[in-house]
């Protein structure tokens, strides 16, 4: 599309520019703000549930029903409505067109629609707090039969609003996802080969493909459970007796739901993790002034992890009562996935080796991610190996593991990414001192929360317990530890207000940012204006001549060469596995 033609579509009024916007950057900010807002709700819920665990019975309003509702809503909000939406809808939307040199997503209207549908799903989710009986308390996995039977909080209205909200969310994700994939495949600028894309784009791209393939499993299970609940069908419901009443169900399988749920649920872990992997790679490279180590291997690792993530789901079900012979296959596939994941960790560390490391705030968050992700990933080897998992399954070990690996670790990347790209989004820098304070409390605090929690799990304390009254095998010291964890969780929770304040204050009062404050080579920093206007590139689309990691190239005048610098600037001849003589770049 010619740019002249394009300008005719530039928004003119406040409403079309910021509200019904079709600009991917505005939509990204809308997604991010909504996700962060709903994430704060999830954060408050986690602190409320920690209050009960740390000080059992001392807060009268946290009764058992509410406790389970808090647990459930916290989990669902954080996994789906915060992390998935933020990485794909927020980071994906903002970064893909800028990083691949496109003017916008290929379907801007669909992109806008995706956000508004997402917002609707969030509103329906929040509405479930106000329906009769309150939100569902079935646990975020929503396992039937209990999710839709009396004895579980919110088993009428709560579960229905939850399912409706999820179905709407999946519609939004699908609209967004089709857009991201098509944009990556079709709208790259001249010279931007797939193997010149920054790893952030690779991570988001593969994660989006996973989302497109995995969410349908959640969609159908949501529809089926809704039918079981409202029409009395028996997809997941065997003949059963609930509260003394023989129900009309017959022949359904609760395990069918679990298979469908985890067929979605395990790729979901990587829908969150792969964008984080990508962003971390880029941040390390920029702030260590060094080319990412083993770029091609990093790309393959992302692709292989994405593929394998579809054949490991039943490791969530080792003790579910499924055919126990499955355990051999799923334990093996699960441990195999550790190899490409380990490669990523090695390559991040090796990128730092002989680098020129600047400990900026984004870099601090990135390095903290490496430690947290490593700890959480290694405990995954406990749970993925079926005979080690049997006693640990369903205990606090699991809670500690998945919070480290897919809760805290990706969130550290979110923070790092926001500190890194905020100057591009707003033209202002986030405040460094507040950033460092926020970083230290969050990093040290979360480690203090989750590292000792593993030990409660090894002891045998089950998760999803409202209280542990009178269990003799649990020593009193375990309660002391729980109180300690709660206190730290409250501090970490409160510290997130620093981040919110920093965002709000810096948006209007922050130091003016230069166009490329981190001296990054990738394309998003090379826009003619900062923040980039609608259309991103002005009259002339950029042309790319090299990969995104031309840092500290020998004999180059600066320690980075931008992707769109003319071929004479050099830096392209050492492309990984590239033909040493190849200097064609955009001409290819």
């Amino acid at each position: 599309m010619a740019y002249v033609q394009d300008t005719a579509h530039h928004p003119r009024s406040f409403w079309t520019q910021y509200v019904w916007s079709q600009d991917h950057k505005v939509i990204a900010v809308q997604y991010a703000c909504t996700a962060i807002t709903v994430g704060l709700v999830g954060l408050v819920l986690s602190n409320l549930m920690r209050l009960q665990l740390g000080f059992p019975g001392q807060f009268a309003f946290i009764n058992a029903e509410r406790y389970y509702q808090f647990v459930t809503m916290h989990g669902m909000i954080m996994v789906i409505y915060l992390l998935t939406a933020l990485f794909l809808g927020g980071f994906g939307n903002y970064l893909i067109p800028l990083m691949v040199g496109a003017r916008d997503m290929v379907f801007p209207y669909l992109n806008m629609l995706s956000f508004w549908v997402y917002l609707l799903s969030v509103l329906v989710l929040m509405a479930s707090f106000f329906v009769p009986g309150g939100p569902t308390g079935a646990g975020w996995t929503l396992y039937p039969p209990q999710a839709i039977l009396p004895g579980t909080p919110g088993h009428d209205w709560g579960i229905i609003t939850m399912l409706v909200s999820l179905l709407i969310f999946i519609v939004a994700t699908t609209m967004g996802g089709l857009n991201y994939v098509t944009t990556v495949l079709q709208a790259r600028c001249e010279g931007m080969t797939l193997l010149r894309m920054p790893l952030s784009v690779w991570g988001i791209f593969v994660a989006t493909i996973l989302a497109l393939l995995a969410f349908p499993a959640l969609f159908v299970s949501g529809v089926m459970m809704m039918l079981d609940k409202t029409l009395g069908t028996s997809f997941f419901m065997p003949a059963l007796v609930s509260m003394g009443q023989v129900s009309g169900h017959k022949g359904g399988s609760p395990l069918l739901f679990q298979h469908l749920f985890w067929f979605f649920g395990h790729p979901e872990v990587y829908i969150v993790a792969l964008p984080a992997f990508g962003v971390v790679s880029d941040l390390i490279s920029v702030h260590a002034r060094k080319a990412i180590f083993g770029y091609r291997m990093m790309v393959w690792a992302i692709v292989v992890i994405g593929g394998l993530s579809f054949i490991v789901w039943a490791h969530h079900m080792f003790v579910s009562g499924m055919n126990p012979w499955f355990g051999f296959f799923f334990a093996t596939s699960t441990l195999i996935i550790a190899v490409p994941t380990a490669i990523k960790v090695y390559n991040w560390v090796l990128t730092l080796w002989r680098g020129d490391i600047h400990l900026t705030v984004p870099m601090l968050f990135t390095l903290a991610f490496i430690l947290t992700f490593l700890a959480g990933g290694l405990t995954g080897l406990f749970l993925g190996n079926v005979s080690v998992d049997i006693p640990l399954s369903g205990t606090y070990f699991v809670v500690a593991h998945f919070h480290m690996v897919m809760g805290v670790a990706p969130l550290l990347v979110v923070f790092g990414g926001i500190y890194h790209w905020f100057p591009k989004v707003t033209g202002r820098m986030l405040d460094d001192r507040i950033g460092k304070l926020h970083f230290w409390i969050t990093f040290i605090g979360t480690y203090l929360i989750y590292f000792p929690m593993h030990y409660l799990g090894v002891l045998g304390m089950p998760r999803r317990y409202y209280n542990f009254d009178g269990y003799q095998f649990i020593p009193a010291s375990a309660q002391t530890l729980n109180t300690f964890i709660t206190v730290v969780a409250l501090v970490v929770g409160a510290a997130q207000l620093l981040f919110i304040f920093n965002l709000a204050w810096s948006t209007f009062r922050g130091r003016q940012a230069p166009p490329n404050p981190w001296r990054a080579a990738s394309l998003e920093w090379q826009t003619p204006a900062t923040p980039p206007p609608h259309g991103n590139w002005g009259p002339q689309l950029p042309v790319v001549y090299r990969w995104a990691y031309a840092y500290s190239v020998p004999d180059a005048p600066q320690d980075f060469i931008t992707q769109n610098a003319p071929p004479e600037a050099g830096g392209q001849e050492l492309e990984p596995h590239g033909n040493p003589g190849r200097t064609k770049g955009a001409v290819t």
Binding site: P238, V241, S253, V319, L335, L352, G355, I370, F451, L459
Partner: protein, 385 residues
């Protein structure tokens, strides 16, 4: 600088924590030493990776932190190094997976000489059943489930007539004899979890799942539910007593069979309620435990899923429909027999009807009465949650 030292401190503190922490697995009481060994192997291998990688990271940060005029080297890849790292990781992973699968192979094959125990999970209590003299368990079906027949045993199946139905939350097992556990539920998912045995499996309605273990240490062990099963989940208490074989058989013989229990249902009701008051209270207390009342009702005044029994007798309670009721013997009896009839405000209408004889109801009411009446100075207090 600071960050690198913090990384080193975290690694050292984590290792120290492991050694000084009072929290670790409960002492093993079953044959699954191999699971504990796998845990140890996994811990060693993963800790090694953790310590080495983080120390290397910290060293890198110290060595290559930004200095004025410093410049990074340009080394986009090193295929030889990458291949080595893949190889080392693969060796590490294999050293975990291979022994792990051998242990699991034992887990999925129960020994042929194992005795059979059926555990039935019900919201929120446990039932246990052993096959009788014929060595076979009778068929069950959800449509036969009633308060007096929680297993849903088919009355027409002769194999079920001699099944031992254990009364109460406690089950006994013989020492050093493998037990194959059959797990059933007629309502929702459960999981029978005794941490010192290590072995466990979810209970799924509509199917039978199994696991096996051999108890190796005599004692009384707590069982808990480890799969969220609704609001009473944390209070689904059970006990396993491991004792020598002779004592176990003596105990088992004392358990009623299905045929006896069916006949007994009528007999108990016919027994005149002549027991003195103390005996009745004691019986009520036992019933509160064995029938699972304690999953939801406390004796100490704290609210759980249901209202506490402390100070309940004689209190005026607000009901869900806006009216109030005096919690006298008549009201309590009705609430036990028809739980949904008069639900107290603020509590979910989820109490199942327990299969109790008239006598047993009277004993429970007597027990509730023994827990005291409301304090005269605070009549409204008990109505709050």
């Amino acid at each position: 600088m600071l960050f690198a030292f913090v990384l080193i401190a975290i690694v050292i503190a984590s290792v120290l924590f492991h050694f000084v922490s009072p929290w670790w697995a409960t002492p093993l009481a079953s044959n699954w030493q191999s699971m504990d060994d796998m845990l140890t192997i996994t811990l060693l291998v993963t800790s090694l990776f953790f310590v080495v990688i983080i120390f290397f990271l910290a060293y890198t940060l110290l060595r290559y932190r930004h200095r004025d005029g410093g410049r990074a080297s340009y080394e986009p890849e090193n295929r030889k190094l990458e291949r080595w790292l893949i190889a080392i990781t693969t060796v590490g992973i294999t050293s975990l997976l291979a022994p792990g699968l051998f242990v699991y192979a034992k887990y999925v094959n129960a020994p042929r000489d194992a005795i059979v125990l059926e555990i039935l999970g019900q919201q929120w209590l446990w039932h246990y059943r052993f096959p009788g003299a014929d060595g076979k368990l009778g068929l069950t079906d959800a449509r036969f489930v009633s308060a007096t027949n929680p297993f849903g045993l088919n009355p027409g199946d002769p194999a079920g007539q001699d099944d031992f139905l254990v009364a109460g939350a406690e089950v006994h097992l013989p020492l050093n004899i493998p037990v194959k556990v059959l797990l059933r539920s007629h309502d929702v998912l459960h999981d029978f979890f005794v941490p010192p045995f290590r072995a466990r499996m979810n209970i799924v309605p509509g199917q039978v799942s199994t696991f096996w273990f051999t108890p190796t240490v005599p004692g009384r062990y707590e069982a808990m539910c480890a799969q969220l099963c609704g609001i009473g989940h944390p209070n689904m208490r059970g006990y396993v007593v491991v004792e020598d074989e002779a004592m176990f058989h003596a105990w088992l013989k004392a358990q009623p069979t299905y045929a006896m229990a069916m006949a007994d249902g009528g007999a108990a009701a016919a027994t005149p309620a002549t027991g003195d008051a103390d005996n009745r209270v004691a019986l009520g207390q036992t019933l509160a435990q064995s029938k699972g009342c304690v999953a939801c009702h406390t004796f100490d005044g704290s609210a759980r899923v249901g209202p506490t029994w402390k100070g309940l007798y004689g209190a005026t309670r607000p009901l869900a429909d806006g009216s109030t009721v005096l919690a006298d013997a008549r009201y309590l009896r009705r609430s036990i027999l028809e739980p949904q009839a008069q639900v107290v405000k603020g509590f979910p209408p989820i109490m199942p009807a327990a299969g109790l004889t008239g006598d047993e109801v009277a004993a429970l009411v007597a027990y509730i009465q023994s827990l005291g009446s409301p304090a005269p100075d605070a009549p409204g207090q008990k109505a709050q949650r």
